[in-house]
């Protein structure tokens, strides 16, 4: 049984890979390689664009563009792009505002959980704040609050631009967001009160999960309706990622939460199929869609190899779905399942390599832009962390390494490198780009963007280094039977305190971000002139 399954998995992998490589070479899906240029108006390539940059930074950005600045993009296309932006501004604003609220809630919950790890008696009398609940509130507020709200908000904003149309069925997205947030509030309340389904990533009671499935599916309706009204022949790479993610999530979440079906060890396998796919088939595609659109857009340079991005997409879709059982190495799930997941974890090197090589060649020779563009800094950092965390994850799945790192804080460090260093940072970058468009106003204090960036980078850096070393030493101590178990607890204490410092910096970064966001929305702070990059005067909008 095991051999047959394993063998067929290998054969399917190879066949699928060959198929897509051939498809790519033959250009079955994409006869013209002009696909990457679809995000630019005629004659726009070479024009860097970053609405989050201060006027001085913007001038500097234009100087760094090797193509020079004598481009005049087609005004009609810019006009229709402005119309696309207007069609999404309310909906995107709702999604991103929710995202900010969940970001703050999740940050403080996480910081509380982190401090409780080394000060266990702190706030010990409050049942809803006990570690097992506040940690879960942190994860759920982030995974079902900030990340999807920001990711979907950006997706909805990008969609009409990418399809050169206006948003169709925006009211569905709005309704979806309302249902989703209602479900999330109920779910978090349930967890705080102790009602939990008991599985990591699937804690929210299945009754409230229905709201999230329906809400998510309704958001997908907007996608489908807008797709049908598209005015482009070619679907840009970001559309694939967003479209697939919107279909994948409701399926995953539904299967994961069906009550009364899963049992015992089988449920553990399902649990991690779901858990890793929430990362791999929902958060990762949303973040990649963000990077694939905004990075070339800011730089005024199309993605270098469009074929590579196609390969990256399909290999991610195939391999990422099957890596989940690497969370169960050493457990009594069937052995073939674990082996399969280890193999596919290693295969994940292919999509990551495809993305990273592409990013490198797209940015080559234009690294100075990082000095001037706040959006680009977030996106480039996120892209780097995608490569770092994915390669780390592939190796972490190998039995020899997993034996040390499994069951330790090392895994927690890895998870944060991926979800924060990569996904959250990509979404921050996208939000900095989008908000000036949505609000028709510049960020009032550009320096705060810099403060946010460096606090976040320092925070995640300290966090990751502390838990990586602490977790590794913890794992080594646990593997040495001559050392008492308590040693593996005591030795992690300095590292856990380090994690709290990193977490505090990240929380501070988010407070700065949220304050800046509020200042922008309430129109506080210095009002600068409408920047040259806005095509619609302020007065037209009301």
């Amino acid at each position: 049984m095991a051999t047959i399954i394993l063998l067929s998995a290998f054969i399917i992998s190879i066949v699928a890979l060959v198929f897509f490589i051939v498809a790519m070479i033959r250009g079955w899906f994409d006869p013209d390689s002009k696909g990457a240029e679809v995000i630019f108006a005629a004659n726009e390539i070479g024009n860097p664009e970053d609405p989050a940059a201060s006027p001085e930074a913007r001038k500097a950005l234009e100087r760094t563009s090797p193509e020079g600045d004598d481009h005049a993009p087609d005004p009609r296309e810019l006009e229709s792009r402005a119309a696309a932006d207007r069609s999404t501004d309310t909906i995107t604003f709702v999604f991103l505002s929710c995202a900010i609220v969940w970001l703050l809630a999740a940050s403080f919950a996480g910081l509380t959980a982190s401090i409780k790890m080394h000060e266990p008696d702190w706030l010990g009398a409050y049942e809803w704040l006990t570690f097992g609940r506040i940690r879960t509130l942190h994860l759920n507020a982030l995974a079902y609050g900030f990340l999807p709200m920001a990711g979907l908000g950006l997706a909805i904003w990008m969609l009409p631009r990418l399809l050169k149309t206006t948003l169709v069925g925006g009211q569905f997205a709005l309704l979806g967001a309302i249902l989703w947030n209602a479900g999330l509030i109920a779910g978090l309340g349930a967890i705080a009160a102790g009602f939990s389904d008991g599985m990591e990533w699937l804690e929210m009671p299945w009754q409230v999960d229905i709201l999230l499935v329906v809400g998510g599916a309704i958001v997908a309706v907007t996608l489908v309706l807008t797709l049908r009204r598209r005015n482009v022949d070619h679907l840009y790479v970001s559309v694939w990622y967003m479209g697939a993610a919107l279909f994948w999530f409701p399926i995953l979440f539904l299967v994961g939460n069906i009550p009364g079906v899963h049992f015992g060890v089988q449920q553990a396998a399902m649990n991690w199929w779901y858990g890793h796919n929430a990362l791999g088939l929902f958060f990762t595609p949303l973040a990649l869609a963000t990077i694939y659109y905004f990075l070339p857009k800011v730089m005024g340079t199309p993605v270098k190899s469009y074929a590579l991005s196609l390969l990256g997409f399909w290999t991610l879709a195939f391999f990422y779905g099957q890596v989940g059982a690497h969370h169960l190495i050493g457990s009594p799930v069937p052995g073939w399942l674990i082996t399969l997941s280890i193999v596919q974890s290693m295969m994940m090197v292919i999509p990551v390599f495809a993305f990273s090589v592409n990013q490198y060649y797209t940015m080559q020779g234009k690294l100075r832009m990082l000095l001037h563009s706040p959006t680009l800094r977030f996106l480039a950092f996120a892209g780097l962390m995608y490569a770092a965390s994915s390669v780390q994850g592939s190796f972490e799945a190998l039995r020899a390494i997993n034996t040390v790192t499994h069951f330790t804080h090392y895994t927690v460090g890895h998870a944060h490198l991926g979800l924060y260093g990569f996904v959250a940072m990509a979404l921050f970058g996208g939000m900095y780009f989008v908000m000036p468009r949505v609000m028709q106003r510049e960020w009032p204090y550009p320096k705060l963007i810099l403060v946010h960036f460096w606090l976040s980078v320092a925070g995640i850096g300290i966090y990751f280094i502390a838990l990586t070393f602490g977790g590794w030493f913890q794992g080594m101590a646990m593997l040495d039977a001559t050392r008492p178990f308590m040693e593996s607890v005591t030795l992690t204490l300095p590292y856990l305190k380090g994690r709290s410092i990193g977490g505090a910096l990240m929380t501070l970064a988010h407070v700065v971000f949220a304050a800046h966001f509020v200042a922008m929305v309430l129109r506080l702070g210095p009002a600068r002139d409408a920047p040259a990059l806005f095509y619609v005067p302020k007065g037209d909008r009301a």
């Binding site: 899906f29 409780k116 479209g243 015992g264 989940g324 069951f407 178990f485």
Partner: protein, 197 residues
């Protein structure tokens, strides 16, 4: 890529393959597993205790899956033999866990069968395990001047006992402790029909 149909169909095929491999096939393979002879169903108190274990999020720091001796010295730490699928026959939801901030608990009842120890340790872990970073679960207990008849007074080291008061366990603390004591999979796994792994 020009067709959204190719995109959506491809995406569905990919997730279908993944779900088939990681969810459906294990389901078929494992659904006929029988419980080993030595495994008893949970009593209603133990089951309520298991729900309390879920409520307080014990799973985030404690695994319930000792590993094989060839991989890790779990058995030498007294955590028990490597578990088999049948050991979890009565477990819904599963609580295999992914962290060992604290020790594995699949056999905690075998190595620590004392109800008094568990109750005191839940009330204040540091009273029994110096240096422990486990959260205290004082809210599962009541501190009062005098215990009512039938209430279980817990014994605490003098430094940790409230002055002039007694600490009594709420029913849910007793349930939780009963569940922990019931965690005992020391019967031979070889009886289990699915012992081939």
């Amino acid at each position: 890529m020009k067709s959204e149909k190719v995109l959506i169909a491809g995406a569905l095929v990919m997730i279908g393959i993944a779900g088939g491999l990681l969810v459906v096939i294990p389901f078929i393979q494992l659904k006929d597993i029988k419980p080993p002879k030595g495994l008893k169903p949970y009593t209603s108190s133990q089951q309520r205790g298991r729900e309390e274990y879920i409520k307080q999020g014990c799973v985030y720091c404690h695994s319930q899956q000792p590993r094989d001796r060839r991989q890790a010295p779990d058995a030498e730490r007294g955590w028990g033999r490597p578990s088999v699928a049948g050991d979890y026959y009565y477990d819904r939801p599963h609580l295999l866990g992914t962290m060992r901030t604290g020790p594995d608990l699949l056999n905690i009842g075998a190595r620590q069968p004392s109800l008094d120890w568990h109750l005191g340790h839940l009330y204040q872990p540091r009273a029994y395990v110096p240096g422990s970073i486990m959260p205290p679960y004082g809210f599962l207990f009541d501190v009062k001047e005098k215990a009512d008849p039938g209430e279980r007074v817990i014994s605490l080291p003098p430094d940790f006992a409230p002055k002039g008061m007694v600490v009594v366990a709420q029913p849910r603390a007793l349930d939780l402790a009963n569940y922990l004591i019931a965690l005992d999979r020391t019967y031979p796994a070889i009886d289990a029909p699915e012992a081939k792994r």
